[in-house]
Amino acid sequence: MRLELAEYPVKEIRLARISRYQSGVLEIDRPAFEDMILCDGRIAEASLAVVHPGDNVRITGIRDIVEPRVKVSGSGQVFPGILGPVEAVGDGRTHRLSGMTVVASAAYEGTVRAGLGVQRSALLDMWGPGAEASKFGALAHLVLVMKLIPGLSEFDAHKAIQGAEYRVARRIAELTIGVEPSRLKMYDLSVRRPALPNVILVQGCLTDDHQAHSGVSYYGMPIRESLSTFVHPNELLDGAVAVIATRGIGYFPITWDWQNHPLMLRLCRDHGQRVNFLGIILQRIRYETFHGKEVIAHNAAQLAQTLGAQGAIVTWLGSGNAFVDVMLTLRACEKRGIAAVLVTYEYGGKDGVDSPLLFYVPEADAVVSTGSRDRWLTLPEAERIVGPYEQLQILSYPGAPVADARGQLILDARDMVIGGVDNWGQESWICNGY
């Protein structure tokens, strides 16, 4: 499997009456794109907005973020099983627009009233402390502001938002066809050097098997209770793994994160230099019994060993009891002689003195912290709101008190900021207290 990723940087996005990509400037034919979104009868209203780093703007109602990509050769299309049929991806050539994203923001009430299945949306400030708290503060965004028709099922709402988001992103990426890229990167793991250690990435995924969408999908199919499987990094680069689009929470990775998985990208870069990167084990976590957690830990470690791993980087997504599965996985790897390193965010409370993690095993003797998700954050008053919500519901139950989205916001956790929790070590944080 060999994928050439051609990069087209975007410095500026302009809403215009023509669509084109030219020397770092992306022009978007606004009415044409708005009409394209409204072709889906489940979307009642749609408009486009553009924001750039430094703008005094707060984006509300964020459900997901995607980097525009399109496949120009090789089988399949980006987001297989969602934008097209279930076909193998990861081979050939894919174009990507870097430095910008498509943000899906949508007003949607939802039908689930408790638990992780409740619809949620996050916000993003493009200036000040809010921009510093998220990697997305430094990128330009084309924001889709949508309102769904009432009465949709949870899954229909998800499909409507995700469909609009991915279709717009792919259409934009198509503007680069025939244009010379600024950079080409080759992703090819086929050649290994015997002198280097074999390293695997174990990606734990909390999924909710009882919800309409479990949270994470593989070729468009929501992953429910399942055993671990192997995924090639190139498949991620082409969107084989995607996420639910009705739940924007800072500590759940979004589509952009899967396309730009920082641990995966670094391991690809180091392949053949420092390590032989074997690929990714996608491991469903959050089993409801301790027995289940032990089995999935064993299963991932067994797969890692079978693939020849000598080292494993173990990371996860989610919160709560799923972390027990993660720790047991570290133990299971170490017991088989696979050196395992954990990459995780911490809790720690407002002041960082509470327990940073839910559960420990003695075998977890190498842990990389990506920072706390519990630190409070004060966002100053914004000049302008982009997005479907002028008012914010800090708690998500119907009838919960609302705050003016424009005003100063004091957040007691990073969940409400998209990209506010550094799940996989993307940011270059420096530890200044230990």
């Binding site: 409801e288 019994t289 301790f290 027995h291 027990v324």
Partner: protein, 83 residues
């Protein structure tokens, strides 16, 4: 909570499906529960079997309360759980 209650002089048995986590925070009497959403029973069972399971878990918890323990001790209900 169980530690605070014990500090106040009340013996506590905690029923939990995540018993190793409970052990880690050093609660004293730990009863193996069924699953995280349903520690004290199994709604997928026929009603009479679920009732028997629930009774056994409560009995085990009462046995735990009566027991003298030194540090975290695990009590296992005598049931076969299909999960």
């Amino acid at each position: 909570m169980s530690k605070e209650l014990e500090k106040a002089g009340l013996p506590v048995a905690i029923v939990s499906a995540m018993y190793p986590v409970v052990e880690q925070v050093r609660a004293n009497r730990i009863v193996k529960g069924v699953s995280i959403p349903h520690p004290c029973g199994d709604p997928s069972l026929p009603q009479d079997l679920d009732a028997r399971l629930r009774r056994e878990i409560v009995r085990t918890a009462l046995r735990a309360l009566e027991s003298d323990v030194q540090g975290p001790t695990l009590f296992s209900p005598d049931v076969a759980v299909n999960r």
